[in-house]
Structures are given as structure tokens and as C-alpha cells.
């Protein structure tokens, strides 16, 4: 969030509407070189839509306004050939379900070399050698033997590794990982998170990690954006947000996570559900579910404001910083471990 160095990607007032229903209400977001940014929130909060819109991947019926700049180049108005040079090359994306992103009738090696040919012009032996190197890098054992296999011959975790290999083929500046570990077993999820953190360290690429799992986000990210109903409601470093969540929604997300250790307690849910974008409540979209909402919240929509500690917050009744609640102490305890 510093303005000294030019950011890699800058989203300004990004808005998206489907059939006249607005789902994204002006997103401002910066990703610096080598940054690791987490995007969290419940399903339907606009986490994925933000990046699909930024890359021009939404269907034609979506109307997208605002500005998306990549290293000084405007993407929102860029013609298709320019966008295609960016997508997969400078900005790569991986998705939740790896087996449906891979082509079932093409050999894995061919799918990786295809990306190498498109983005780096590598062909023949050079492409094969590079593909084997990538497979080795993402932790596929015995890549030579597995080069000619099909995606069904790989497990779910390995398919996700292969997706990451294809994404890395263009040597991207930014990798967008959209719920990359949600469909995987916990042990495999830990492996993939470990791999992403390691690749980020080695290649220096920036990472945007979209997830509803706060635990997973805190493993690989340095800063976090919390989204609710198409808006950013809180933004800060992992340490700030995890030790002292200020927005009642962020706090609610933390409190809802069941604890593995300690005494068995009743879980603390957030009442109600994410509002339908067609029937957004007046005022703050979170106010109907918020324990701290006042009359003001039901009529006025709070703006995202910069806080003294460098974080941003969109709430007029934030959770007390020096709170004495047991919940706060509990979160803090785990950060300290």
C-alpha cells in the first residue's frame, strides 16, 4: 500500500453488473511486485468476480467499468490480442477444481509444452526439457515417466501441482490462485500451500490468494482483504487483521472457526446469510447481521477509510482495539504460538 514504488496491478473503482444487478461496488486494490495478498469472505462476496473482471474473463452479459492497470498499461480498454498476451503470460490463474481445468484427452506433457510454446516460443526438445523442469519444480515425482500420462492418472493434489506448472510456464509476474486448496484433503492442502509459499520465494512473483479459509490465507499471505457483498470492508497485514480484527464481519469470520484445541464450546456463527445482490439492504450491507449496528448503519453506507496503522476499514462502529473480550484474547493467543 505504499505509493513509492509503482504497483504491479492497480484496480480503480472496478464495478461489475450482471443484467443490471450490480455485484461489485467499486473495488480499489493494489498489488505490488512480489506481494502476497489474500482475499477472503463468504461465497458470493465477489472475490472471484473481482479478478475475472480484471482479466476480462467474465461472460458478455457482464458490464465492467473502472480501470485495471498492469505496470502502467490499461487493461480494461485493451483490445483482445493485448489481453491475450497478458493472460497466462504476465498474469496466470489457477482454479479450485484442477481436474476440470485440465484437458482429459491430452497428455500432461503436451499441455505444459503448449503453454510454453504460446508464452515463451519454446518448441521441441527445449520445450520438453523446460516442461520436465517445471514438473520437477512443482513436486511431481519421476517427471520423465509421467510426461506422457493423462490427467486421470494423477491424484487431485498432483493435478493441482500440474495446473501450477502450467501457470508458471509463462513466468508470470502475478499468480492468481482461486480457492486452490478447497477441494483437497487437509494433508494435501498443506503440501500445496507449502509449494505456493516456496515458489513465491523462489520466483519472486506476486500472489493473489482467494479463499474462504482464513487459516490457509494466513499461511501464505502478508496482507489480507476482507470482502463483503461486493465491497472491501477491511484491509491490512495478516498480523494486524489476525491479532485485532476491527470490522465486525472480520471478527465474525474468526469467531465462527471451530477451535481444534481447548475446551469444547458452542460455536459462534454469524447470524443470517450473505444478502442477495438484487436485494441489498440499505446502508451498510452487513448491518442486518451485525451485532453492533446502529440506526446510522441501516441508512448510511460506510466508506473504506485509511486507519492510522496503515490498514483500511469500512465501519463506523468497529470492534474495540483494546477489547477485553475473551474472543480477542483467544485469537491473539494463537498468533503468539
Amino acid at each position: 500500500m505504499s505509493t513509492q514504488t509503482p504497483n504491479l496491478v492497480e484496480l480503480r473503482d472496478l464495478k461489475v453488473a450482471f443484467d443490471g444487478v450490480q455485484v461489485l461496488h467499486g473495488i480499489n486494490l493494489d498489488v505490488a511486485h512480489g506481494d502476497a495478498l489474500g482475499l477472503v469472505g463468504e461465497s458470493g462476496c465477489g472475490k472471484s468476480v473481482t479478478w475475472l473482471a480484471a482479466l476480462g474473463l467474465l461472460p458478455g452479459k457482464a458490464s465492467v467499468t473502472g480501470s485495471v492497470r498492469l505496470g502502467g498499461m490499461e487493461l480494461s480498454t485493451a483490445p483482445r490480442p493485448v489481453l491475450e498476451k497478458v493472460r497466462g503470460k504476465r498474469i496466470a490463474m489457477i482454479f479450485q477444481d484442477p481436474s476440470s481445468s485440465l484437458n482429459p484427452v491430452l497428455r500432461i506433457g503436451r499441455q505444459i509444452t503448449e503453454a510454453l510454446a504460446i508464452h515463451r516460443g519454446l518448441t521441441g526438445e527445449a520445450a520438453r526439457a523446460e516442461a520436465l523442469r517445471l514438473m520437477d519444480m512443482v513436486g511431481i515425482p519421476d517427471p520423465r515417466r509421467r510426461f506422457d500420462q493423462y490427467s486421470h492418472e494423477f491424484s487431485g493434489g498432483q493435478c493441482q501441482r500440474l495446473m501450477i506448472a502450467i501457470a508458471l510456464a509463462g513466468e508470470p509476474d502475478l499468480l492468481i490462485a482461486d480457492e486452490p486448496t478447497t477441494a483437497l484433503d487437509a494433508t494435501i492442502q498443506a503440501q500445496i500451500l507449502d509449494l505456493l509459499a516456496e515458489l513465491k520465494r523462489e520466483t519472486g512473483m506476486a500472489l493473489v490468494f482467494i479463499s474462504h479459509d482464513l487459516g490457509a490465507v494466513s499461511q501464505v499471505c502478508e496482507s489480507v482483504c476482507v470482502m463483503y457483498a461486493g465491497r472491501i470492508v477491511e484491509q491490512g497485514t495478516v498480523d494486524q487483521l489476525f491479532s485485532e480484527p476491527r470490522h465486525p464481519y472480520t471478527r465474525g469470520l474468526f469467531d465462527a472457526i471451530p477451535r481444534l484445541h481447548g475446551t469444547r464450546e458452542r460455536l459462534i456463527p454469524i447470524p443470517g446469510t450473505v444478502p442477495n445482490p438484487r436485494e441489498l439492504p440499505r446502508g451498510c450491507a452487513f448491518s442486518p447481521r451485525c451485532p453492533k449496528a446502529s440506526n446510522f448503519c441501516h441508512t448510511n453506507s460506510p466508506r473504506l477509510l485509511l486507519q492510522p496503522d496503515g490498514s483500511s476499514l469500512a465501519c463506523v462502529h468497529p470492534v474495540e482495539v483494546a477489547g477485553t473480550g475473551a474472543g480477542k484474547a483467544r485469537i491473539f493467543e494463537e498468533v503468539m504460538q
Partner: protein, 326 residues
């Protein structure tokens, strides 16, 4: 007190073919497994995909037939699938799946679906059924005005509430929940978990709660069984099993749970792939991924045995009192 349901030496073998002409290969989904559930008790079953959790749940209900072993429900042997007695017994044991949209009929209103078990088992008069449906909807937190809604008009959490209401309609004594909250957001998940706990306590229902999410299981179950490749490898009270895991696999599972604010460093990340039941390793099935495996682990299958009060585990290193260093 006798167990409500008891499984003894259950075995389930599926046959799979790799291609149309290849010889079928046996896959031992559940392998000589015994488990008992007391009335009103919640037993959690955890493990990775392919460990046989769901097959076990289906076998407890008698939907999947056991090739060996038996299931005793309420002191009596499980009647054969689709028999008259089995159908009657099904009123007493119900199943809740992961995907509520697939479990509901899209063309029926939710009140009709919640009342369906009452129709099937001929419980109560028409008026009483209507009253019971109203009562159930209230118990799971659905509004009366939602009675006429169709499944697609409800959110994921509301659909799962409807499925649970339907499962409770015939006042079962056993509820088998197969990943009931895995598809829900964490905020909604907490709502449904609390509700399940309340309903269970109020009605004294026994529950088998199958999930890969250790955190949820810890908060709902009294006792937990950890499965690996069709076998239980560790079993104990939910208060202690995750806090002091003894089996190396349980340790790895606990360590892989991401805790908010805790960095990756210092965690045991289990290497290797989730086990393939079609290619079961010799000896202890966990040995290829086990950091502590010795020669005996590669050749001999460890028995499930008591290692401390209220705790059983299947591990050579534990059985020989070479306690695994913490």
C-alpha cells in the same frame, strides 16, 4: 448399557476394472472394522478421501452390504437390504449427505419433503403430520413462510436445514451425517453445527459424524475414530485425541490443520499422496508416509489395541511401548 449400533469385523470389497478387458481388482474399502455407538453418543469419523468413511456410514445403515462381519442395531442383527423389516428399521436411522441440493427433490416443496418420511412410515394422521412438519421447521430454524419454497429458492445453509429436518421427522435414534457442513461457508457451518448439537441433546439421538474437517469433528463429537485405508488407526475421546494424538497419522492430520495466524514453519507436512485402496501397501498401510516406520511396519499389520484408558491405536511403535516421541 448396550450399544445402540455395533459393527463387528465389517469388510467391504469393491471390484474395479481399469479397462474393459482387464481383470477386476479387489478394493478393500472397509477392512475388518469394528465400531460401536452408545445411545445419545456422537462418534466422529475422520480420514482422507478414500479412507472408507462414507462406505462405513452406508454399511452401518445396511445400504451397503457387508461381505463379512455384522451390524447389530438395538440388540438385533441388521435385516437384509430392502426387506420389510429393514424398511421399518430405516425410520430409526437416517442419513444426511454433503450436498443438500442433490438430496432434495427439486419438484417438491420443502414442507412436502420434510413430511415424506411420516407418509412413508405411516406416522400420525394428516393433521398431526402437518403439525410435526411445522414443529420440525421451527426446530431447524426455517421460517413458516418458507414451507412452500422449492429447494432452488433456498440458500445452501437453509437447504441443509431442510435435509436435517427431514431426517429427524420420524424421530430416529441414530443419525448418520456424511460431511453435512463441508459445502457450507464457515459462518453458516457454525450455525448448522450448533443446531445439530442442540437437536441431538434435546432428542437424545446418537450420531455418527463423518467429516474430513478435524475442527468441526472436535466440536461436535464425544469420541473420534481416525480411519486410514479402511481401518481405524486410532480412537479416543475428542477432548484428548487431537490435543495428544498418539498415532503418527493422527499427528500428521492434526498438524496439517491450518490455524489462523500460525505460519507454515514448524508444521509436519505429510509427504506423499493420499492412499490408494486399490494398491494397499503391505504391513501397516501407513508405513510409506510414516516418518517413523521401521522394518516391522513394512511386513506386519498392527492390531488395534488399547494404549491408555479410553484410547486405542494400531501402531507397532505404540504397542511395543516405544512411545512415539512428541
Amino acid at each position: 448399557m448396550i450399544p445402540l449400533i455395533e459393527a463387528r469385523g465389517l469388510v467391504r470389497i469393491y471390484e474395479i476394472r481399469k479397462g474393459p478387458f482387464s481383470r477386476p481388482q479387489p478394493v478393500r474399502a472397509v477392512d475388518d472394522l469394528s465400531l460401536s455407538v452408545m445411545p445419545g453418543e456422537t462418534v466422529g469419523i475422520v480420514g482422507e478421501s478414500g479412507s472408507g468413511k462414507s462406505t462405513l456410514g452406508r454399511m452401518l445403515l445396511g445400504i451397503d452390504r457387508a461381505q463379512a462381519g455384522e451390524v447389530i442395531f438395538d440388540g438385533r442383527q441388521m435385516p437384509p437390504l430392502h426387506s420389510q423389516q429393514w424398511r421399518a428399521l430405516r425410520a430409526k436411522m437416517q442419513l444426511v449427505y454433503q450436498d443438500p441440493l442433490a438430496a432434495l427433490d427439486r419438484r417438491l416443496t420443502i414442507s412436502a419433503q420434510i413430511g415424506e418420511p411420516l407418509d412413508i412410515h405411516g406416522i400420525g394422521s394428516k393433521e398431526e403430520r402437518k403439525e410435526r412438519v411445522r414443529e420440525l421447521m421451527g426446530a431447524v430454524g426455517l421460517r413458516p413462510d418458507q414451507a412452500g419454497r422449492y429447494p432452488h429458492e433456498l440458500s445452501g445453509g437453509q437447504r441443509q436445514r431442510a435435509v436435517i429436518a427431514r431426517a429427524l421427522a420420524a424421530r430416529p435414534s441414530l443419525l448418520i451425517c456424511d460431511e453435512p457442513v463441508s459445502a457450507l461457508d464457515v459462518s453458516i457451518q457454525a450455525q448448522v453445527v450448533n443446531m445439530l448439537r442442540d437437536l441431538q441433546e434435546q432428542n437424545g439421538i446418537a450420531m455418527v459424524f463423518i467429516s474430513h474437517d478435524l475442527k468441526v469433528v472436535r466440536n461436535i463429537a464425544d469420541r473420534v475414530a481416525v480411519m486410514y485405508l479402511g481401518k481405524i488407526v486410532e480412537e479416543g475421546s475428542s477432548d484428548t485425541i487431537f490435543q495428544f494424538p498418539r498415532h503418527p497419522y493422527t499427528k500428521a492430520l492434526v498438524s496439517s490443520v491450518p490455524v489462523p495466524g500460525k505460519r507454515l514453519q514448524g508444521r509436519v507436512i505429510l509427504q506423499g499422496e493420499p492412499p490408494n485402496p486399490a494398491a494397499r501397501p503391505s504391513g501397516c498401510a501407513f508405513h510409506p508416509r510414516c516418518p517413523l516406520a521401521t522394518d516391522i511396519c513394512r511386513t506386519r499389520t498392527p492390531e488395534l489395541r488399547r494404549i491408555e484408558t479410553g484410547r486405542t491405536a494400531a501402531c507397532h511403535l505404540l504397542a511395543n511401548d516405544l512411545a512415539v516421541a512428541a
